[in-house]
């Protein structure tokens, strides 16, 4: 069974919600990313999203943009990221999803990319600029290799799209808390509870909320109305804050501990 599905099964049985941490692979270095994944697992992350840095991250706010550019400057490539994943897999079974823009996938071919990712130990794919409407080939490849294909719902998603997206999404459904890019904002709109309920009516798949979640209070509030919470930019900021310090992974882990324990 796919590690993401297994994780949600376990969480459900225990009556718990998922804490999903996003970090940009290669920021500040791939060695640091490897250490971070293991440290985050220790600090209560249930699933980790590894961002593949991209030259044109149009769905990301300034924090992840900056991390992506730095990671690319450091020479981070898909191949090196998958090598790192293989190294992680020797010591950890934490569910790992790749978050990437579509072009690095399309460039090598959907089937080839998914095969390589699955072989390295990746459990899911999240591609913000690939709606299910354009994902026929990728979905087939993910199905063939038992890789979760995680699609998005957004506050602007029309009623007619909710069911087909929920059906196409495997692993979990990524619910964008607010129309916008990644990164913290002043508040998360109150309508989200209603939107999540609408999604829950058509699917029993886990629905997790991401974009703009940055404090323990928000984590708690969002977890109350969903199956899990995704935090990205807030963790990247913490990495930046402690960048260059020897105990950076431990310090970031301590920060994540505060967030995940709010669940």
């Amino acid at each position: 069974m796919n590690r993401i599905d297994l994780k949600f099964q376990q969480l459900r049985k225990a009556g718990k919600k998922a804490f999903i941490a996003y970090i940009t692979a290669g920021y500040p270095s791939l060695e640091a990313t490897e250490a971070l994944v293991l440290a985050l697992e220790e600090s209560g992350a249930d699933i980790i999203e590894l961002g593949i840095p991209f030259s044109d991250p149009m769905a990301d706010g300034p924090t992840i943009q900056e991390a992506s550019f730095k990671a690319l400057e450091n020479g981070t490539t898909v191949r090196k990221i998958l090598d790192m994943v293989r190294a992680i897999r020797r010591v950890s079974n934490i569910p790992l999803a790749l978050m990437t823009y579509y072009n690095p996938v399309f460039h090598v071919g959907d089937a080839h990319f998914v095969e390589a990712a699955a072989a390295a130990g990746i459990d899911g794919l999240i591609i913000p600029d690939l709606p299910p409407d354009e994902a026929k080939e990728l979905r087939a490849a993910c199905l063939a290799h038992d890789v979760a294909n995680i699609f998005f719902l957004s506050p602007t998603t029309t009623a007619a799209r909710i069911a087909p997206i929920a059906k196409a999404s495997t692993g979990f459904i990524y619910f964008v808390s607010v129309a916008g890019v990644t990164g913290s904002r002043k508040s998360i709109p109150a309508e989200i509870a209603r939107d999540i309920r609408a999604a829950k009516k058509v699917t029993d798949k886990p629905v997790c909320i991401g974009f703009g979640v940055s404090t323990p209070e928000e984590v708690k509030a969002m977890a109350n109305i969903s199956d899990g919470v995704i935090v990205g930019s807030a963790i990247i900021k913490e990495i930046t804050k402690h960048s260059g310090q020897k105990d950076m992974p431990a310090r970031v882990a301590a920060f994540v501990q505060k967030l995940s324990s709010a669940l």
Partner: protein
């Protein structure tokens, strides 16, 4: 190049899902899907609505100054010997380039959709100026994203936009040029999608933009075809246009699509040379890829990262190209060639000297291909060149080149 049979049925592209073969489409965050579906429907309704057509035609005529003339370039033709050259004078339009055709069409649509805030991206500033112009015309709030590098290179157009009431936002991320301006415009759009209309300036982006911009620019080719038939009692042998994103080229190519005897040639920017890595020739040198919402030709490295484009013409300085152009290339309907910075300067000088018309550096790429074509053809051939814009905006760049040459 003309022998390949076309299997495309009339008006069947893009298909219902916005694809040109396997190109085009909608590669955007879910948050934008609803507005794109909505926009597609609004566009369909508008294109069928006599009131929309009447309003669009009115502004094209009385505000932008259409129709533009199809001018026989006699002295240029004499110099080229084997070619009889006509120029489609989009340079004579208000704001100095073909861009105004599209911005007028889209602003009328945006008003029908009750959008109150307009955003746009711009490279050279021509599309930004054309957008700021129509926003001033209708009293709408306008925000233009422009790479910080381009803000420096095209300072005069920044002044024009600000005079017209637009807010110009210098984009500091990435390469600080057009592609980054487009990233930032998309980020704004995804955040303010309720009240904001994104006015894209070329035949790229997610469906329905490539189709919509083509529909608003095809007036160029419709006029040129009629004017040529009237003057020459036949169709031209060649139609030439420069291709960055490709809006002027698509505008003039599309109405000739089914005229199989007419060769369509798109001229990309070879920058310092196609083998230097410093160019913008997405079709000639790129591979299929996905950027800014559509699948098309793209300059990218082995890891699928988008590569920086280069051209002396800021309006061609983009690593992608409209999907319909790549489609034309794939089905063999159009050919794509590339002209270097240096050759483009030659094209600019050639037209200035022979006809008393100073073309934009973008259009100069198409003109620079004329002497090459003239050497290839057998007998005497006729050609229409889309003179997409005038050169006033480029005088700073030209001055630098001339100074450099005289040293």
């Amino acid at each position: 190049m003309r022998k390949k049979r076309l299997s495309v049925k009339k008006n069947k592209f893009p298909d219902k899902t916005g694809h040109y073969g396997d190109l085009g489409g909608r590669f955007v965050p879910e948050t934008l899907m609803a507005i794109l579906i909505d926009l597609e429907q609004e566009l369909k309704n508008a294109l069928k609505d006599p009131a929309f057509k009447k309003e669009f035609r009115y502004y094209l005529k009385d505000f932008a100054n259409r129709p533009t003339s199809l001018y026989y370039a006699e002295r240029l033709s004499r110099e080229l010997k084997t070619l009889k050259v006509y120029l489609k004078r989009e340079d004579l339009l208000h704001t100095g380039a073909h861009k105004i055709n599209n911005t007028l069409g889209q602003i009328i649509l945006a008003r029908r959709m009750k959008k109150t805030r307009i955003i746009a991206e711009t490279g050279a500033g021509q599309h930004g100026v054309a957008t700021a112009t129509v926003c001033a015309l209708f009293g709408l709030k306008c925000v233009v994203y422009m790479g910080a590098e381009d803000v420096k290179r095209q300072a005069l157009n920044v002044v024009r936009m600000r005079l017209l009431g637009a807010e110009v936002v210098p984009v500091q991320s990435g390469t600080k040029t057009l592609k980054d301006a487009m990233n930032e415009a998309i980020r704004d759009w995804v955040t303010n999608v309720k009240d904001t209309y994104y006015l894209i300036g070329t035949v790229a982006g997610p469906h329905p933009y490539p189709m919509m911009v083509r529909e608003f620019q095809k007036i160029i080719g419709q006029e040129a075809r009629q004017q040529f038939l009237k003057k020459e009692k036949k169709l031209p042998d060649y139609v030439l246009a420069c291709v960055g994103g490709g809006s002027n080229a698509m505008g003039i190519f599309y109405p000739f699509f089914y005229d199989a005897s007419v060769s369509l040639i798109g001229v990309e920017a070879a920058g310092h040379g196609l083998d230097t890595g410093a160019h913008s020739a997405a079709i000639c040198k790129g591979a299929a890829g996905v950027l800014h919402g559509c699948k098309s030709a793209l300059l990218q490295n082995a890891d699928g990262q988008v590569q920086n484009a280069h051209s002396i013409a800021a309006g061609l300085d983009y690593p992608g190209v409209g999907p319909e152009h790549y489609y034309y290339k794939k089905i063999g309907r159009a050919d794509y060639v590339a002209i270097t910075d240096k050759e483009a300067i030659g094209g600019l000088k050639l037209l200035s000297r022979t006809e008393g018309i100073i073309p934009a550096l973008e259009s100069s790429h198409a003109l620079a291909y004329l002497p090459k074509l003239a050497r290839q053809v057998k007998g005497k051939k006729t050609v229409i060149v889309c003179l997409s814009g005038r050169g006033d905006k480029d005088m700073g760049t030209i001055q630098e080149v001339l100074d450099h040459e005289s040293h």
